[in-house]
């Protein structure tokens, strides 16, 4: 049984993971994480289930250590570990491994397809001539909007800058490239444009057990505003983003979610990167499992982790 040294393994995992993301800018962190884990499964031999589990856990820990937002990595990692547990049989270890690799491919295919499924579901909600507000850049929202535009619908999108970084501008560039009418607005103009939009459509970094979402900072503000002005607040999220976490308020969110790694030692002077939007502010969640009300999320999670 070939053993891999601690350092060698870590090097492999993170490098492969980052390479994946580098190669395909549109790949979600969660998908990249699952791809990486599957790669480990394919490349290495495992003597026992225990070793397999520890290796996976270590790999997830290593990926969490990168400077990316960890929400999707955590949920995807957990989903993958559950996947391993559920596909175990009484068979020989090597046979089990082959079964897992085989099932993993099907699993990945489904996940790869999820954005398309979500975009399709959102189509009926995007009507001709409507005005949509979205927050920063979300790949699944972008996909849904582009699909709608390809379906010959004309609509206007307001995009917030999305705090630090230029993600809002990137979104605008992508929308313009697709020929969609759009306007970049300040985050602080959320309240101003809310009265003129028909609905809000945002992505999510993670969907938590309560049916609420964790997303780039400003989403909560948008949810509050939308609620006050009685506008529907739609969330588009792939099901691998469902996380077993039940935050009660903003402070209750784990620090690793809220701050980048380099600030974790002292968070008193930095502002958080994400916030938590409670389920009462969310009208519907569009997922590859269907259009769900927030209360349906916990049902899905219970079914899986029961």
């Amino acid at each position: 049984m070939p053993q891999i040294t601690e350092t060698g393994k870590e090097f492999d995992v993170v490098k492969y993971f980052l390479q994946l993301l580098d190669k395909d800018k549109d790949m979600s962190y969660g998908i990249a994480a699952i791809r990486t884990l599957l790669m480990i499964l394919e490349k290495k031999q495992f003597g026992t289930i225990h070793i397999l589990h520890t290796t996976m856990r270590e790999a997830v820990a290593a990926m969490r250590n990168t400077d990316l937002s960890i929400a999707a990595i955590v949920s995807a990692g957990e989903l993958f570990c559950r996947f391993i547990t559920l596909s175990l049989d009484d068979k020989h270890m090597e046979e089990c491994r082959l079964i897992m690799i085989n099932r993993g491919k099907i699993f990945l295919d489904k996940l790869d397809n999820s954005r398309q499924v979500i975009a399709k579901q959102a189509q009926r909600f995007i009507s001709d001539g409507c005005r949509i507000l979205t927050h920063s850049r979300s790949r699944v929202v972008l996909k849904a909007l582009i699909t709608a535009s390809q379906n010959k619908k004309s609509f206007h999108v307001f995009v917030t800058q999305g705090g630090t970084g230029n993600s809002g501008e990137e979104m605008i560039r992508d929308l313009n490239a697709a020929g969609i009418d759009c306007t970049l607005i300040l985050d602080s103009a959320t309240g101003y444009v809310m009265e003129s939009v028909d609905f809000v459509m945002v992505g999510a970094e993670a969907v938590v057990e309560s049916g609420g979402i964790i997303n780039r900072i400003g989403s909560y503000t948008m949810g509050l505003c939308a609620r006050e002005m009685k506008k529907p607040f739609y969330v588009l999220a792939e099901s691998f983003k469902f996380t077993r976490l039940y935050p009660l308020n903003q402070r209750d969110l784990p620090n690793e979610y809220k701050y980048s790694r380099k600030h974790l030692s002292d968070v008193s002077k930095v502002h958080p990167l994400v916030d938590y939007t409670p389920p009462v502010y969310i009208t519907l969640l569009f997922t590859d499992l269907g259009i769900l009300t927030p209360s349906a999320v916990s049902d899905e999670l219970i079914k899986l982790y029961m």
Binding site: F83, F107, D299, E300
Partner: protein, 352 residues
């Protein structure tokens, strides 16, 4: 290629349009009869062919009567029944037994193998399918017949002596529900908003006034807010329940629900299972209908020459204004409707 409607379907559409068949219950019953007829007599060879016929006839009904969602609901029930019976007979039970309601779930996403990934081939002829289907259709019929009674028996749990109840218009389930409550409880006061311009509330009031020991008050719709402060409970019927737990109910229901919210009065909605429809608000071009304007302003009156008159039939009531649904299977919160829907219909039949 256009699908041809069956003679029975055309007759039903006609009967509904001219008002010979009225009310969700009547329409559901008649639709079920048609599907039963299709199952018995039509020369379908396999489950796939049957499902295609059901879908085609359902689409015709839908196109002709876009506001009557119950017809598609019952078609979805039949489709799900067909799938289940087919799977059962085909001995494919092992994959679906514990998870029959959802072809999509996180759990399934993780556990599926290539084998279960292949969809079932419904075009294989199956012995005994017709008999099994008719057997189960009997169950659906019984459920339909007893649904009103099953809702009524819960009246005692929700209505207590000396309470003041407000209702709107005339729903048959509400009528039976209140009658049961009047028999069991004393000193009830029932306020009926008339629901102009059809003023069907008058009929309800007349019907309830025949009972003993109850005070009936009829109010104009404009007085709903004024009366709400003294009301203990609002009990209304609905035309259909949407996927998010919202209502498509008689025009005026939103007024009632908002007034009830303002005074924190619980809103109870009586909705038998066949009214649960897996649709969302957005996709409904035919959400509302306009009724006859003559009832609002007579055609020969002077203002009728100048004024535009609309008389919409329905209101959308958002789920957060509903406290409780009472169906034939018990009480459910609006947030639970999605769950009932996954149990009731197959996800692939949501779009017919």
């Amino acid at each position: 290629m256009r699908e041809q409607p069956l003679k029975e379907v055309t007759q039903l559409i006609h009967a509904i349009k001219v008002g010979l068949v009225e009310g969700s219950f009547g329409i559901t019953n008649k639709t079920l009869d048609i599907f039963k007829y299709i199952i018995i007599s039509k020369s379908w060879k396999n489950a796939d062919a049957l499902m295609q016929i059901v879908r085609a006839q359902c689409r015709i009904l839908q196109a002709a009567l876009p506001q009557e969602t119950v017809t598609s609901n019952i078609a979805r029930r039949i489709l799900k029944l067909t799938r289940e019976e087919f799977d059962l007979l085909h001995a494919k039970v092992q994959h679906f037994a514990d998870d029959s309601q959802a072809s999509l779930s996180l759990h399934k996403l993780v556990t599926q193998t290539s084998e279960s990934n292949v969809s079932v081939d419904y075009s294989v002829p199956q012995q005994g399918l017709r008999e099994a289907l008719l057997d189960h259709l009997q169950e659906v019929e019984t459920e339909l017949e007893t649904s009103s009674e099953n809702i009524c028996v819960q009246a005692e749990e929700h209505i207590h002596s000396s309470e003041i109840i407000l209702t709107l218009g005339h729903s048959r389930s509400v009528e039976n529900f209140l009658k049961r409550a009047i028999k069991k409880r004393q000193f009830l006061t029932i306020i009926v908003a008339e629901c102009a311009p059809a003023s069907r509330g008058h009929n309800l009031a007349a019907s309830l006034a025949a009972e003993k020991n109850v005070e009936i008050i009829v109010i104009p719709d404009a007085a709903i807010f004024a009366m709400m402060s003294r009301v203990n409970k609002v009990i209304i019927g609905t035309h259909s329940v949407l996927a998010n737990g919202g209502l498509r109910a008689a025009c005026g229901a939103y007024t009632v629900a908002l007034a009830a919210k303002h005074y924190s009065v619980p809103v109870i909605v009586l909705a038998p299972m066949y009214k649960l429809s897996p649709l969302h608000l957005c996709e409904q071009d035919a959400f509302n209908m306009v009724g006859c304007a003559e009832d609002v302003i007579p055609y020969d009156s002077i203002p009728a020459r100048e004024a535009k008159v609309y008389s919409p039939m329905f209101d959308y009531v958002p789920p957060e204004l509903v406290t409780l649904f009472i169906s034939n299977t018990g009480g459910h919160a609006p947030s639970y409707v999605y769950r009932l829907l996954t149990e009731l219909y197959h996800p692939e039949d949501l779009e017919i």
